[in-house]
Structures are given as C-alpha cells and as structure tokens.
Symmetry: C2
Subunit: 419 residues, 2 copies
Amino acid sequence: MARKNAFYAQSGGVTAVINASACGVIEAARAHAQIGKVYAGQNGIIGALREELIDTSKESKRAIAALKHTPSGAFGSCRYKLKSIDENRAEYERLIEVFKAHNIGYFFYNGGGDSADTCLKVSQLSEHLGYPVQAIHIPKTVDNDLPLTDNCPGFGSVAKYIAISTREAALDVASMCETSTKVFILEAMGRHAGWIAAAGGLAAREEGDAPHIILFPEIAFDRERFMKKVDRTVKKHGYCVIVASEGAQYKDGTFLADAGTRDAFGHAQLGGVAPTLANMIKGELGYKYHWAVADYLQRAARHIASATDVQQAYAVGAAAVQMAVTGKSAVMPAIVRGKGKRYTWKIEDVPLARVANVEKKMPRNFITRDGFNITPAARDYLAPLIQGEDYPPYKGGLPEYVQLKNVLVPKKLKSSFKI
Amino acid sequence: MARKNAFYAQSGGVTAVINASACGVIEAARAHAQIGKVYAGQNGIIGALREELIDTSKESKRAIAALKHTPSGAFGSCRYKLKSIDENRAEYERLIEVFKAHNIGYFFYNGGGDSADTCLKVSQLSEHLGYPVQAIHIPKTVDNDLPLTDNCPGFGSVAKYIAISTREAALDVASMCETSTKVFILEAMGRHAGWIAAAGGLAAREEGDAPHIILFPEIAFDRERFMKKVDRTVKKHGYCVIVASEGAQYKDGTFLADAGTRDAFGHAQLGGVAPTLANMIKGELGYKYHWAVADYLQRAARHIASATDVQQAYAVGAAAVQMAVTGKSAVMPAIVRGKGKRYTWKIEDVPLARVANVEKKMPRNFITRDGFNITPAARDYLAPLIQGEDYPPYKGGLPEYVQLKNVLVPKKLKSSFKI
C-alpha cells in the first residue's frame, strides 16, 4: 500500500477525553509505516476546507502523550455541519481537493452523529471523484446518544463528574437544611437524551438517598406531579435534591428552560432549567432553594475523568488507525460490552451507514415507573463507565495541561475557500 | 483540672474541609484525659439550645478519621445567629444551662465572623453566670474574610476548585470559539469579598491567558468599561473568559444579580450574576455566550480539595483543643504565614475580641489597576493555599464519604427551648 498522510479533525462540543482519542490516533499512526504524517484540522473540518492543516509531526512524543490527560480540543473543534451533497457539493469537492494536494488518504473524524454522516459522505464521494479516501469515524459525545456503540467516549467522565457533584452537593444541603436551603437543583447537559442527568442517580447509595428526583427529556414534565414529589421529599427527608437535564420538556416538546417568562423588555428569560424550576418551587411551595448550572465545567472536568473513559477514548482512536491500515472505510470503532457479570469491553467496527443520524435515548426500563429516577438496570449500565480515577499531573496546585505548538503546513492550493 | 466534656458545633455554610476541623477536635480531645466526651451540636448551635447533643464517643476511630476526607457538616450546621445579649439573654442562659447539665466545660465553635462573636459572648456570659466555659472559636469560611488569620480553612479548597474549573472551561471555550461560544462566565461565591473570584486568576499561566476579566465586589462595576474590555478581548484572543463574584456590584452597592430586569409578573429575574452579565453582553455585543454557576458544587468539592487546606483545617481543630486544655478562652487559632520565600505556616492564638464582626476584603494592591484582574502580590498570597491534592478514597467510581451514626445523648433537662 502506498504511503499516505492522514487527516484528523475534532468535531462539535469537546470533552474531557477527546484529546485522548487524538493521542490514540497519532501514536498509532506514528507506529505504522504506511501512514505518513498526521495533519490535524485547525478548528476541525473548517481547517480542511481552509487548508489550515496542523502538522502534528512537529509535536514531541511527550506533548502527544500529554494529550491523554488534557481536556478540550487541542487542535480546535467547530460546530460546522457540512450540508448535504446536493446542497453544497462544492464543500465535499474542496475537501477532496485539499486531501489530494496533501496526499491524504486517511480521514479520521472525531465527533457525534452529524460528523458520522459527514464521514460517510466523504468516503462515498471520494470514491466517486476518483480519489478514494478511507474515512473512519471516531465516536465522541458527552451526550452518549450514538447508536451501535455501548457507550460514547466523553460520556463516562461527564457522568462521573455529575455523580460526584451530586453526592457532594447533596451532603452540603443535608447538613444545612434544618435552617437553610431545602431544595437544590443541579442542571446537567443533554438536550435530547437524559444520559448525563441519569448519571446523577449513581450518587445514591440506598433508597431515599439524593438525588430524590431526576428530570429526563424522555419523560414529559408534569408540573403537578413534580411539585407533589418535591413537597413529599422535603417533608420526609428535610430536603430535596434534583438533577435536571437541560432538555427537560413539557408534553408538547417545549423545553422547560424556554418556557420561562419574559423580562420587561420582552426578552426570553435567561435560560437554564435549574433557575426555572427553582422559581417554580419558590412560588408554589415557598422552600428556600439553591441551584447550580455546571455547563462547560462538566464536560471539561479532566481533573476527575473516569479512567475507563480515558482508556476507551484512547482505544477508539488507536483502533481507527488499525481499521484504516487494514483497508476499512466508512466504519466506526464501537465499544462492545462483554456479556459477563464483571464489566469487560472490546472494540469492533460497525458500518457508518447504520450510525449516521440515529439518536440513542434512554430506554424506558432505565427510568423508574414514576419517571423520577433510575432503575437498577440503568445502574448496571452506568456504573462501570465511571470506574477508576485518572488524575492528570499537577504543578503548583493546578493540572498541567499541554498546549501544542500547532504549526501549520504550508498551503499548496492557490484557491481559498469561503466558509 | 477537673474532667469536663466538650461541646463542638459547626456554624454557617459548610465547606469541603470543616469536617477535617471536627476530626482535629475529636482526635485531639480523645488524647487528652481532662476532656471527657465530645458532644456535637445536632445542626450546630441549635442542637445546644434544643439539648440535641450527638455523642461522638459512639463513633469508631475509623469513622472519625474519615471525617478528614468528607465534605459538608457531618453533624449538621445551621444559619442561626444568636441575638445580642440584651435582645435575647435567654438564649445564652439556655446554652449555659445545657452545658451545666452535661458537664460541658469546653465550647468549640467552628464558623465565620458571626460565630466568633457568639463564642466571645458565651465566654463572657458563662463567667458572669458562675459556670465558666472555655470558649474557643475555630475559623471556617470559604469567603476567607476573617481578620488576624492569614487565611481561613475552607477557602484553599474552593480556591483550588475555581482555579481548576476556570482553566478547564477556558480550554474548552478556546477550542470552540472559532464557530461557537465567544464569552464564558463563571460565577463564584463571595457576597462581600472577592477572594474566591480572585482565585480564578490562578488559572492563567501567562499574560493574556484566561481568565481575561475578574469581577470583584471590591471594585464598582462600570458597564461601559466592562463591555469595552470584553469586546477588546474577544477581538484579540477570539474569546473571553470572565470569573464574576456573586457579590459584583454597582457603585451604589446594588448587586448586579439583583439589578436584573423583572419578569412579566413583576418578579425579580432569577438571580445569578453570570446570566445577568451574559444577557448584557448578548444584548450589547451580540456574542454567543455560555455561563456556569457552580454554587454549592464549589464549596462541597472535596474530591479536589487543597492538601494545604485539609492540613490547616485539621490543625486549627487540634490546636483549639490544645488551647483549651492549657486554660485559654475567648481565643481563635489563627494561621500565621512564615516570612520566607518558601511557604510555611504555624498556628497562634488570637483574641476573639479582635476577630468578631470584622470583615477582611481584598486589599487594593491585590487587584490590577484596571480593576479586572489579580496582581503578582495576589498570586503570591493565593498560590500556596491551593497546593497539593488530597484525594478521598473511592469505591465504585465515587468518593467514599463517611456517614456518622450521630447518636443523641439522652436529655437531662425537663424544659424544652423554642428556637
């Protein structure tokens, strides 16, 4: 097989471990003679379109290894969905043009459902245009909503963060509730699927432990039932801890966070399902509340990443290279859970055609009948994903995260491309 | 000296390390023959008033040791300020009555400025009422606003949390800013003093690093200058990270969080300086934003506590006992920083009369001239306080925090007391 360069890009919201996947790709590629250099897209796929390619061969072995413990996207990521081929064929042609100019034969795209779709199209179109590129999609999403893979790298760490934060904050509220805060709400990410909020449920050790209520996008919000549950919980335990998915919604699909009132100027109220719920509870039940919105803190929290997640993120990156050098294309390395009682996992390739644009929601049997908590089945699924601590190195009391040099490859094309 | 029991209570907002102080008190007391049992107030001082005393001698050595790595208040805390003696002398008399009934000769009160004041009054009044109690105040507050002590136990850990979270979230924003979020705001605790927000500044390694803006309660908020700085930062770096103290305020003392608009029903807008700033920026500059409000997560985050803070919290607890058995009263163990370049500290007693009701704010020379960041002097002060990681033990991917049995001592008094 002729020696070709590889292109790697990070796509969509970054995670605590997407750089571990990058590390897996680059370390594996460096070990394979048939892969030349790995070029990373500056700011994701936009870097390919603009011919802004980062030459990762300029980075030391040590810097690349440090990616494994560095959160965020080391090369920059982007929210940029390529249009359909019919709508903007020029984009795909431009990609192939750039790949051709830089002798790129491998395309590794590290992202969620949208990028799986792009990856599939690149593989198809490149073939069609007579410059075949092996396109491999590397799964990444905190939302855990990709199909065919047992879980998504990035999710385990955010799950661990939310579970720990819930346990910690719940202890705080429990110790103050006699005279102070009675209701605490933690807002978790997950616009369409409740996986992250569900992880908050792991904080409970036994029946009655916090969190007492979890709100999932999968379960229509019923204000009356919710208020009753909050009130009953405060009366029974002295306090109530709620983990609410940002995607919590009414039956008609309106997000709670969007259903808020408007301010004096008619602007929609400053978002957040947590403050919205807090206001509702205050108004109706009068309980003193506190709320937290972890936002980016949760997906960037490499300081408390799940060791399992870090290993899997690295493994899917390395496996993608393995798949590429054995001639595969239009596939994704998926995590497959072993059947035994003890948690085991391995990696297998699955066809991208079956991955793209499918969203995996929480199954109903992972949610208790009353819709407010997780079942033992959910615990069995979630618990292994947060196992193990993988602490970054520290200097001066702070994690030492690597900053790469990110040296650009000289451009070869005369044309520029307008995004 | 006759053998007397000790009373210990936690007061006000809890921290990641207040239980480490409890551990210091109990372990030291167990080693001193002249101290009998340590009774802890259930829900703080309220437990003394209600004669709800927890018998800590019922807890195993192992459980008490585990307090050192357990956040929140293990015996319950409360927000309950005793009135002045003139206003409610009955409260003080009740305390002495309960102490007398349970042969309590030592009063350890673990809290902030208010509880230092209460502690002082108890020592004075007990003398007056012919049942002298040695009252020692143990410093605790995430706000770091007590005088005479170089820093307050509880602060180092929240400072570490905010510094790490700022560094992590800033990396996230930096990697996405080309096509997505341009401004990120993290709201930190600290209603009256900017210490916690200041700690966010430690995330920066060099000039120009995030956070680009810190908002302190000590510096009057100037909307126009703020907007200019945000805009300039985004134009220069591509993104802007802001750490805002919840106490950020206008020149007239109005909190930003309270100055928000009202909703359609005339309710004050759901609090939070972070969403308020975000809305302001969106309206004026149009930048896409994200914001986080860490709330209790920051002060409960024992998973990433500062080792220095844990040591100091334990040490002030143990020192309080040492002071008591050597006959001291109406004092507080204060942390004294050594003069050398290398950070050292020791503990000395300071008179409570000089501690009570004094609030230590950020000195002006800790804040840059433009009011938007910290100076090297602030760094020198703050950096040692977040040194070292003191990880709790984990089980199943989650920290193993202890839950005490909290067995109550049988009541001896016939009268009850209405809070």
